[in-house]
């Protein structure tokens, strides 16, 4: 039997390129939607809610249908079986997918960054409230953490990560803008002994709120990691077993 190094960087690079090729169509749709969505939201959010909803539906449904279609096609045609038969460990596959997943996460960060204050003001939006920023930030952290956990544990394919990414964008906007600003602010203001939403904004800009927010983000990440611990453990055990086998 021939000896073969399953950690071969060449094989790894091949798998990264393959993942990018496989998801190219969805990737382009994802980037287009990522550009269109925040701009449409910024432009129309105040004066034309129906238009915004239509823009969201169109932009979300396009890459989602492509993503589902590609995923289903690959699964039905057995194309993915071909990767399982290659002489590489799951670790190499996982690294390749994690790199591609991370790349998409970074693209998404770049895409939504104009939507964050002060970039948001730059593209013509109104100043978002503190709750909007907090809720948006939470959604964003959840999304990135979930994407990475899923990628590392090889639980889902890249196309599904992208779909989740897009859903994260939608959640980002809806939760941040509509739920945060229009519901939470007026709803919570009386309980915080504040008279107007702007007082909530002021309170959220206080050092205590900033510290609480900073503390909350790692806590949420830790919670996510704990939830996916079983998947991760199983995956790591498999990789270790395979690597041990290869080092014999």
């Amino acid at each position: 039997m021939q000896r073969f190094n399953p950690k071969s960087s060449l094989a790894f690079r091949r798998l990264v390129v393959l993942e990018l090729q496989r998801t190219a169509k969805q990737g382009i749709a994802f980037v287009c939607c990522g550009i269109v969505l925040p701009l449409a939201a910024a432009r129309f959010r105040s004066d034309s809610l129906p238009l915004l909803v239509v823009a969201l539906l169109v932009t979300v449904s396009t890459p989602m249908s492509i993503s589902f279609g590609t995923s289903l096609k690959d699964r039905l045609s057995g194309d993915l079986e071909f990767l399982k038969a290659l002489p590489v460990t799951g670790y190499v596959h996982a690294r390749a997918r994690a790199v591609v997943g991370l790349l998409y996460a970074l693209v998404a960060v770049a895409l939504v960054s104009p939507y964050l204050w002060p970039g948001y003001l730059w593209i013509g939006g109104e100043e978002p409230t503190g709750f909007a920023l907090a809720a948006s930030g939470l959604c964003f952290v959840l999304w990135v953490a979930t994407c990475l956990c899923s990628a590392i544990t090889l639980r889902f394919g890249t196309e599904r990560l992208m779909m989740w990414g897009l859903m994260g964008l939608v959640a980002f906007i809806f939760v941040g803008e509509f739920v945060g600003e229009r519901l939470l602010d007026p709803l919570l203001a009386p309980y915080l002994n504040m008279e107007t939403p702007s007082s909530v904004v002021d309170w959220l800009r206080s050092p205590l709120a900033i510290v609480a927010l900073i503390a909350a983000l790692p806590a949420v990440s830790a919670l996510l990691i704990a939830i996916s611990l079983r998947w991760t453990r199983t995956a790591i055990e498999t990789y270790r077993r395979e690597d041990k086998i290869m080092s014999l």
Partner: protein, 238 residues
């Protein structure tokens, strides 16, 4: 040069059971696994190719358990699946280029020589190939690194007689009987077995029912065509 030993090898699924069996295979042999659909042929080939993680008993290659050798051992096996596993958007050339980086012994020139021999257009998209062409591509991919073990899962099923002939001729030339390689292939087409195999293992309803060399089977009635004798052997087993 792999010597393969199946020791009480068997699998059990909710709807299918392959009863444990012992089998010894040596380099230079071309062994046909014959049986009806669902007899356990593909399962056996998957297991010996390092693609079946769970099974009972042991499969040893040169004295080492297959499950302890995956995934690296897959580089030493040329596996032709029943249905081509590849991405339809890749061209034939791109598909082979992709695979080349995973197999250290991959011989690019040999791959192109095989492509020419089976008359496969390198620029064609995999998704547009006919079934027979896909089998040809699978065979090129399996053979291009000259693996010590060729595991071919029904290479000629559902393709026309002309293509069948071409494929069997390639297999015949690439891994001659008595050479240093082992060919293990499954089929339910007895004429193919007659052409290629020097030994036949019969599976019936998830049970190994007979294991004979072709010369033994021929000796039973030298006047009859081999495929008739093979059929009679399969029929006679309970």
């Amino acid at each position: 040069m792999p010597a393969i030993s199946f020791q009480r090898f068997g699998v059990r699924y909710p709807a299918f059971e392959l009863e444990p069996f012992d089998l010894e295979l040596s380099p230079g042999e071309r062994v046909a696994i014959v049986g009806a659909n669902g007899a356990g042929k593909s399962t056996t080939l998957k297991a010996v190719s390092g693609q079946l993680p769970e099974y009972g008993g042991r499969i040893e290659i040169d004295g080492r358990e297959v499950r302890d050798l995956v995934p690296g051992m897959r580089a030493s096996v040329g596996y032709l699946p029943e249905r081509l596993h590849a991405f339809g958007w890749m061209t034939v050339a791109a598909h082979l280029r992709f695979l080349a980086d995973f197999f250290p012994a991959w011989d690019r020139d040999y791959a192109y020589e095989l492509l020419e021999r089976v008359e496969l257009p390198v620029g064609a998209k995999v998704g547009t190939l006919s079934k027979g062409m896909k089998v040809k591509l699978s065979l090129v991919a399996a053979e291009a690194h000259r693996p010590p073990l060729l595991a071919l899962d029904e290479p000629t099923s559902a393709i026309d007689p002309l293509m069948r002939g071409e494929l069997l001729a390639v297999i015949d030339q690439c891994a001659p009987i008595g050479g240093d390689r082992l060919v293990l292939f499954s089929s339910h087409i007895l004429e193919d077995v007659e052409w290629i195999a020097d030994r036949v293992v019969f599976l019936k309803n998830g049970r190994l029912v007979a294991d004979n060399s072709v010369s033994e089977i021929r000796a039973r009635d030298p006047d009859k065509p081999l495929h008739e004798l093979l059929y009679a052997t399969l029929q006679s087993q309970v």
